[in-house]
Amino acid sequence: MTAKIRAKAQELLESGRLSCFIGYEEGTRGRVRPAFIYAPQDVDRLIWDERCTYNLVTYLHQFQSPRRQGEKLPPVGILVKPCDSYSLNVLFQEGQIARDRVYVVGLTCKGMKVNGQTQERCQRCAERVPLVYDVVLGRVPKTVGREDYADVAGMEGLSPGERLDFWMREFDRCIRCYACRQACPACYCFECVAEQLDPRWVGIAIDVPQKQFFHVMRAYHLAGRCSGCNACEEVCPMDIPLSLLNRKIAKEVEDLFDYRAGQDAETPPPLATFEKEEELPINV
């Protein structure tokens, strides 16, 4: 696979169609890190294995504005796993990036591993081939995961008081580094509510409810947009179970509006549209 990716990247960069190819390279301490390849002779840095869990779609935002005034935005190549392809669809749908500016090299995926174990989110993943790609590399694995929201249902079984205690305990650890927001491909506002000064939504006091406010705000802003790539939870230095919050919303969006984020780039997002005659359970 690594050889195929390198060959493809080299071909694309040599043809001059791309200015940059985003992939993975060997990092420090046995980890993998994103690689930005600008020249064909650098493609040997690229690798692909089961540690390549990061969602590279986040880095497309850096190629959103020209480096010099009047410069035409050059197309970018990117490696995309099935889960990342949802994020890409969300960006296409929201008009953040034009389809023809991205050359998508899709990769089939058996699931990413951490400490030799298949990640939980990959066990839940039902997609083995990216939904959007220009070329797809790799064989299609037979095994498919299934999402059953078991842990979310477990949370729902608790009483409101217990849930409040649980979340306050989890949010208490938050150091407000905002890495979850930074890693999120769908969080691309130039000025985040968390850093707005007027009105100042999120205060700077060392106070759990303010942390709670940030997290619920972040989760709600991703309602119907979060595709569950879990980048936020992976980067959290305090191990706050953010997927438990994100997936609750995904579950409810699916239940209320019959919608899953990132399935295609055409369906309007549920909270940006409405139907006049719809029965929605409010207050019940």
């Binding site: 409810e252 409405f274 006049k276």
Partner: protein, 150 residues
């Protein structure tokens, strides 16, 4: 004029729930006004914030109200189909259907957020909705997740 309710000044704790009401400028706020001009009485614990439309009420407003000391939040708007801005309350309806479930999930009891439709002619209904909601809040008691200094 006699009232059925104690003035809130000396009442504390669960007897005096802090309730914030976001009322739409075209229906629910005139509805509250009508309740007043009709000399209807309702519990005095509601702090009304007038907004242009229920669609203006960002779910963050509700979240912030809870964080800053509210025990209950009401979002009242025009009946679906009657929005002054044609579609604001349709958007609000979708947002709060989701917000309700999210708030419940993070530990705000479902009853603490009320989203309802009150027209400008429904002064009596406004008083009834407010009285019911206040009674509910008294039953639930103060919310546990507020800021310490609120």
């Amino acid at each position: 004029m006699t009232t059925d309710f104690e003035p809130p000044i000396n009442i504390k704790g669960s007897e005096a729930p802090q309730i914030v009401g976001f009322l739409c400028r075209w229906c629910s706020y005139p509805g509250a006004d009508l309740a007043g001009t009709s000399r209807l009485t309702y519990p005095p614990f509601l702090r009304i914030i007038r907004v242009p439309c229920s669609g203006r009420v960002d779910p963050l407003f509700v979240l912030k109200a809870f964080q800053d000391g509210a025990d209950g939040v009401m979002v009242l708007g025009c009946h679906p189909g009657d929005c002054h801005y044609v579609e604001g309350n349709y958007h609000a309806r979708r947002r709060y259907a989701l917000m309700h479930r999210l708030l419940e999930y993070v530990g705000v009891e479902r009853d603490r957020l009320l989203v309802d439709w009150v027209s400008a002619a429904e002064g009596r209904r406004f008083a009834a909705v407010t009285a019911d909601f206040t009674a509910q809040m008294k039953e639930l008691g103060p919310w546990g997740g507020k800021r310490v200094d609120s």
